[in-house]
């Protein structure tokens, strides 16, 4: 991986990675520092060995640095950072309901769902980032979608 590829990866991935880390540490400046540190580590690592999935590697290292910065041994739960109203000018009621339902998910399910749907990591990459077996990732994602469906179905029935 040469410097051009790393620069391209930075332009593409850094904003999304920063958003992920910000949800972990809850601090904008801290998230930016961690992203910079992560890419510095990527520059060093890329010169030494070949990375199978640089994106997964970036997320894993960023997550580790975020946990280290908070001096926590347990995995960091994703923080509730959803805006009060979506960025869209015409807030969709369904989207609002979905945001509330996602908020109610457990942190482990929410993090797996976040990595899959927003950051578009594969099951294998999520397993690498979270340091858990592939089956656990699949199970968490299935549970998350099922739970969302049940919550939304219940809310639609109440209306």
């Amino acid at each position: 991986m040469d410097s051009t590829e790393i620069a391209a990866l930075y332009r593409l991935e850094a904003p999304r990675l920063a958003a992920y880390v910000r949800r972990l540490v809850g601090d904008r400046h801290g998230a930016m520092d961690i992203v910079q540190e992560t890419f510095r580590a990527l520059v060093e690592q890329a010169s030494q060995s070949h990375l199978q999935s640089p994106r997964a590697w970036l997320y894993a290292v960023a997550r580790h640095l975020a946990a280290k910065s908070h001096r926590r041994s347990r995995p960091l739960p994703l923080q509730d950072d959803f805006p009060a109203t979506p960025a869209s000018s015409e807030p969709d009621e369904r989207i609002q309901m979905m945001l509330r339902a996602i908020r109610r998910l457990g942190p482990e399910l929410r993090e797996a769902l976040d990595l899959r749907l927003e950051h578009e990591l594969s099951y294998q990459e999520i397993a690498f980032v979270l340091g858990i077996p592939l089956g656990t990732v699949r199970s968490r994602l299935h549970n998350a979608v099922r739970t969302l469906r049940e919550q939304l179905g219940g809310q639609e029935n109440q209306r």
């Binding site: 790393i6 620069a7 930075y10 850094a14 904003p15 999304r16 920063a18 958003a19 910000r22 949800r23 904008r28 400046h29 801290g30 998230a31 930016m32 520092d33 992203v35 910079q36 540190e37 890419f39 510095r40 520059v43 950072d81 959803f82 805006p83 979506p86 960025a87 869209s88 369904r94 989207i95 979905m98 945001l99 996602i102 769902l113 976040d114 899959r116 749907l117 927003e118 594969s122 099951y123 699949r138 994602l141 299935h142 979608v145 099922r146 969302l148 469906r149 939304l152 179905g153």
Partner: protein, 167 residues
């Protein structure tokens, strides 16, 4: 085609999450199309995942993050923290020096000379025996041994110095 319901559910969830290969997805679509209930369930899951995807995309967190060019100033935050630490330590030092200046310690008095107490050595027992007798020899030897006991000498100024005086 007869497929176990729990296996079908898992495949439908994988499809909703976009993790099925094209071949498996086509096969699953064919199986689901056979049954209205399965079709309905598949639609629910697809809609839920799509809505969740859209909701997550609408989050405006990344909009406020303007990242600097790569490795332009990677240690800026650390330097700032180091500066804060240095200022805090300098402040502590200043407070300590101010306290020393405001509340000076009383002058220390010179340590008192160690007092010397003279303890008379135990006198030998009165000789009751003859001068050249065996008992006189034993008594004399015993008294000599008592005199050779080590001196008690405390070097601490707060303690007494005890010196034995031979008589």
């Amino acid at each position: 085609m007869n497929v176990e319901p729990h296996l079908l559910e898992r495949l439908m969830l994988d499809r909703a999450l976009g993790q099925l290969s094209e071949d498996v997805e086509a096969l699953l679509a064919a199986v689901v199309a056979e049954d209205a209930g399965r079709n309905s369930r598949q639609s629910e899951l697809l809609t839920t995942a799509a809505q969740a995807h859209e909701a997550m995309k609408r989050r405006s967190v990344s909009a406020g993050l303007e990242l600097p060019p790569l490795a332009a100033r990677p240690r800026q935050r650390s330097r700032w923290r180091a500066a804060v630490m240095a200022i805090a330590m300098a402040g502590c030092l200043l407070v300590g020096l101010s306290a020393r200046w405001l509340f000076p310690r009383e002058r220390q008095l010179p340590a008192p000379e160690p007092s010397v107490v003279v303890v008379p050595a135990p006198t030998p027992a009165m000789r009751t025996s003859e001068l050249w007798s065996l008992q006189a020899f034993i008594d004399t030897t015993k008294a000599t041994q008592d005199r050779r006991k080590p001196l008690v000498n405390w070097h601490s100024p707060s303690e007494m110095q005890v010196r034995e005086i031979e008589q």
